[in-house]
C-alpha cells in the first residue's frame, strides 16, 4: 500500500488555497465541500492574485479564514451590493459572493435581485440549506412546508409562515443573469458537477458575461438534527422536489 503513496502518484489533494486552519463547520456540513470547490476552481484557473470574495453573515462568515484570497465581509444580506462595487471599480478581477439562504433570499433579497438584474459581472454561490444554520436553526425563506425548525417547531405552515421561496428560477428570468444553475454536493458525481458549475460562473465573471448564480442545495445536519448521512438522504427525498437540480439558464 505505502508503495503507491508517492508524490508522482498523487491524483487528488487539498487545494493549497484552502489553508491549514481547522474549519469551524459541523462535521459533514456542505459548506466545507463548497469551500473546497471554490479554492480548487480559483487554483485551477490560476487567478488567486485576482480573486476577491465577499463572505456573508451566516455560518460561512469566516470563509475568509479558510480560503487564502482577498476577502470582504459583508453586512447581513448586502454581499451582492458590495460585489457590485468591487467589480465595477476593478473590472478585471474575479468577484464572487458566498451566501446562505437567509442572507441571500431573506434580508438580502432586494440586493440579490437588483445585482442580478443589473447584469453585474459577479458570481454568486448560494448555499440553500433551508434553515438559518448560524443562529441555531430558525426558519429560512427556503424552509420546506412541514419542515421543523426552532421557529416553526411543529413544521412550516402556509397559513402562519407562507410558502418556501424558490428564488433561483426568478433570477433565471432576469435579463441580467447569464448562468443560473442548481447543484448539490452529496455524492462524488454531484461534487464534480458542482465544481464545473462554479468554474463556469467564475469564468463568466472574468469574461464579464453578466451575473451567474450557482445554488447549492445543501444540508445543515446540525440544524436539521440528523447525522450527515441521514441529512443527505433527507435532502434527496425532500429538498430536490421543491428545488430540482440542473441548469435553469445558460447563455453560451
Amino acid at each position: 500500500m505505502n508503495a503507491i503513496i508517492q508524490p508522482q502518484n498523487r491524483v487528488y489533494s487539498r487545494p493549497s488555497l484552502l489553508n491549514d486552519a481547522h474549519m469551524h463547520y459541523c462535521p459533514g456540513c456542505s459548506h466545507g465541500v463548497v469551500h473546497k470547490l471554490v479554492a480548487e476552481v480559483i487554483e485551477d484557473m490560476g487567478v488567486a492574485e485576482n480573486a476577491i470574495g465577499v463572505s456573508p453573515v451566516g455560518c460561512a462568515v469566516f470563509a475568509y479564514n479558510y480560503i487564502d484570497i482577498d476577502w470582504l465581509e459583508a453586512a447581513h444580506g448586502r454581499a451582492t451590493a458590495m460585489a457590485t462595487a468591487v467589480k465595477r471599480l476593478m473590472p478585471d478581477r474575479l468577484v464572487f459572493t458566498y451566501q446562505g439562504d437567509g442572507d441571500f433570499a431573506a434580508i438580502g433579497t432586494c440586493e440579490s435581485i437588483h445585482a442580478c438584474n443589473r447584469a453585474e459581472n459577479i458570481a454568486i454561490i448560494f448555499i440553500n440549506n433551508a434553515i438559518y444554520g448560524m443562529t441555531g436553526g430558525q426558519m429560512a425563506p427556503t424552509t420546506l412546508l412541514g419542515q421543523k425548525t426552532a421557529t416553526c417547531p411543529y413544521g412550516r405552515r402556509v397559513d402562519l409562515n407562507g410558502y418556501p421561496l424558490s428564488i433561483t428560477p426568478l433570477l433565471a428570468q432576469l435579463d441580467g443573469t447569464c448562468y443560473v444553475t442548481r447543484q448539490s454536493v452529496h455524492t462524488p458525481g454531484a461534487v464534480r458537477k458542482a465544481k464545473a458549475a462554479i468554474r463556469k460562473a467564475f469564468d463568466n465573471s472574468i469574461a464579464c458575461r453578466g451575473a451567474s448564480v450557482v445554488e447549492i442545495v445543501s444540508t445543515c445536519n446540525s440544524g436539521w438534527k440528523m447525522s450527515p448521512e441521514k441529512a443527505n438522504q433527507w435532502m434527496v427525498e425532500h429538498m430536490f422536489e421543491k428545488y430540482p437540480l440542473g441548469d435553469l439558464k445558460s447563455n453560451d
Binding site: 491524483v11 487528488y12 489533494s13 490560476g46 465581509e73
Partner: protein
C-alpha cells in the same frame, strides 16, 4: 501487494468523523475508528481494507474538510495542484497612467470659477478630486448630485464609476466595498436615506475604511418635509448606527465649502481611515453661488492604491499575504483592543482636525454659535445687531465632530450669554452647554419643519432671550 492500484491518506487531525467518505466509497475501503479519537475527539476515518482501493477519488470529493489525498498507480492525470499557478508578469497597466504627484491644494485657475448649485458643486468637485466611484439613490433635496454626475459622464473622461443603486442600503454597502478596496468612493443622500445608511456607517467605522458620505438634511422625523433642516445633528455627530464610533462631520455654509469639503473630507478619511461626512442642509444644497473649482486630478492608479493603502482588498498581486476587511471579531479581548484603537484615532482627530470660523469674537458681549445655513443667516443678524450697538460675535463650527469646544470656551470668556440658532428643536446646544460648562446662560432658537428664520427673527431671539434693551 503489487496488485494495489489506489491508496488514500487521511489527515486524521482535520477529520471530523462525519462518515461521508465511508458512505461514498464504492468498495468499502474506509471506516471510522471505533474507539480511537483524534485531538478534537472525533472518531476519524482510516483505510480499513486498503487492498481494495482503486483511487477513484470519491471519498476525497465528498469530504467537507478536505482531509483526503488520493494516490493512483499509474496516475491517470498529472497532479494538478501543489505549487500555485502564478500568472505571468503582465505589463503594469497602472504605470502608463502614472502622473506626477498631483497638486493637493484646492486653489484653481480663474477659468474654473463658475456659478452652480451646492449639490452640483459636490458632484463636480468629486470628479475633479479624482473620485473612483459614486453610489447613490435619489432623494430630494440632493438628487442633483447624481443627476449632475450622470450628465458629466465621468466614466468617459476620468473612468469614475457612477451607479444608481436600488436603495440607500445598497448604496452605502457599495461605498463600504469600494472603500475597502482603497478607492475614493462616496454617496449622497438626505435624512430618510441617511437613516437607512446607518448600518453601513457602523460597519465602515468598525472596518476602518475611508469613505465620504454626504447628507443634505431635510425636515423630519419620518418622511417629514423636503425643506431644509439641521435635525440630523445628533445622528451625524453622536454615531447614528450601533456601537461606539464617530465620523468626521464637516458643515459647509457656502457652495464654495461644498466643493472644498469634498477634497478635505477624502483627505481626512484616508489620513485617519475613517468616514468623513458632509452635513449640509437643503439651503446650501439648492443655493446658487459662485464657486472656484479645484483643478482636475488624475485618479490614482492600481499601483498607487496598493502602495498608499496596503490594507486594501485589491487581489493578492505577487501573492502578498491576503487582505481581509471585516468588522467581525469574536474574541472579546481583541475586540476591546480594536475599540481602544478606534478611540485613540478619535482622540487624535479631536487634537488635529477641529475646525471653526471665528467672527468678531474679540470684543463680543454676546456670542452666537451656529453652523451651515444658520451661520449665514446669523451673520446678517450680527450686522443688524452691531448697527444697533449690540456687540455680537459668532463661532461657526466647521467640524461638528470633532466639536470646537475649546474655541467656543475661549470666545465666550467675556460674553454674557450665548445664542444657538438651529434648524431643529435644540441639538447642538447640548454640545455648546458642555463646552462652556454652563458657566453662562445658553439659549436656543430654532425653526422646525423646514422653516428657515430671517435675520430679524434671530436678532429678536437674542434681544428678547437675554433682555437686551
Amino acid at each position: 501487494m503489487a496488485k494495489n492500484i489506489g491508496a488514500v491518506t487521511i489527515d486524521s487531525e482535520r477529520c471530523k468523523g462525519c462518515n461521508l467518505c465511508v458512505v461514498a466509497c464504492p468498495l468499502g475501503v474506509l471506516a471510522l475508528k471505533g474507539r480511537e479519537v483524534n485531538n478534537r475527539g472525533y472518531h476519524f476515518a482510516y483505510m480499513e481494507s486498503p487492498d481494495k482501493c482503486i483511487g477513484c477519488q470519491s471519498c476525497a470529493l465528498v469530504c467537507p474538510d478536505a482531509c483526503i489525498e488520493v494516490y493512483k498507480c499509474p496516475p491517470t492525470a498529472p497532479p494538478k495542484r501543489g505549487a500555485l499557478a502564478v500568472e505571468a508578469e503582465r505589463p503594469d497597466q497602472g504605470q502608463a497612467l502614472q502622473r506626477e504627484e498631483p497638486a493637493t491644494e484646492t486653489s484653481a485657475q480663474p477659468s474654473n470659477v463658475t456659478l452652480m448649485k451646492g449639490n452640483e458643486a459636490l458632484a463636480v468637485a468629486a470628479i475633479r478630486y479624482g473620485a473612483d466611484g459614486y453610489f447613490g439613490y435619489p432623494i430630494t433635496p440632493q438628487s442633483e448630485v447624481l443627476e449632475r454626475l450622470e450628465q458629466e459622464m465621468p466614466w468617459e473622461t476620468t473612468g469614475m464609476v457612477v451607479v444608481q443603486a436600488e436603495s440607500e442600503v445598497a448604496a452605502i454597502n457599495m461605498v463600504y466595498a469600494g472603500a475597502s478596496c482603497g478607492k475614493a468612493v462616496f454617496t449622497s443622500t438626505s435624512s430618510p436615506g441617511f437613516s437607512l445608511m446607518q448600518e453601513g456607517m457602523s460597519y465602515m467605522a468598525a472596518s476602518e475604511v475611508p469613505a465620504l458620505v454626504i447628507n443634505v438634511m431635510r425636515g423630519g422625523p419620518g418622511l417629514g418635509t423636503i425643506h431644509p433642516s439641521q435635525a440630523d445633528y445628533f445622528q451625524a455627530t453622536k454615531g447614528g448606527g450601533h456601537g461606539d464610533y464617530h465620523a468626521i462631520v464637516l458643515a459647509p455654509s457656502s457652495v464654495q465649502e461644498m466643493a472644498d469639503f469634498v477634497g478635505l473630507g477624502w483627505d481626512l478619511a484616508f489620513k485617519y481611515r475613517c468616514v468623513s461626512m458632509i452635513l449640509a442642509d437643503g439651503v446650501i444644497g439648492q443655493m446658487m453661488e459662485k464657486v472656484v473649482l479645484p483643478p482636475q486630478r488624475p485618479r490614482r492608479t492600481d499601483d498607487e492604491i496598493r502602495r498608499q493603502c496596503p490594507w486594501a482588498v485589491t487581489g493578492r498581486k505577487g501573492m502578498r499575504p491576503k487582505n481581509v476587511v471585516t468588522s467581525l471579531e469574536l474574541d472579546d479581548d481583541k475586540m476591546e483592543a480594536n475599540n481602544l484603537r478606534f478611540q485613540a484615532t478619535y482622540r487624535l482627530i479631536e487634537q488635529n482636525e477641529t475646525r471653526c470660523e471665528l467672527v468678531d469674537t474679540d470684543d463680543c458681549d454676546w456670542l452666537i454659535v451656529a453652523f451651515g445655513s444658520m451661520a449665514r443667516i446669523s451673520m446678517k443678524a450680527m450686522e443688524l445687531a452691531r448697527a444697533r450697538g449690540i456687540k455680537v460675535g459668532m463661532v461657526r463650527p466647521i467640524t461638528l465632530w470633532p466639536f470646537p469646544a475649546e474655541q467656543i470656551r475661549k470666545a465666550a470668556a467675556n460674553a454674557k450669554g450665548i445664542l444657538v440658532p438651529e434648524l431643529d428643536a435644540g441639538q447642538m446646544i447640548e454640545d455648546v452647554k458642555l463646552a462652556v460648562e454652563c458657566r453662562l446662560p445658553v439659549e436656543h432658537f430654532g425653526r422646525l419643519g423646514g422653516n428657515v428664520p430671517t435675520p430679524d427673527e434671530i436678532l429678536d431671539a437674542l434681544t428678547r432671550g437675554f433682555n437686551i434693551a
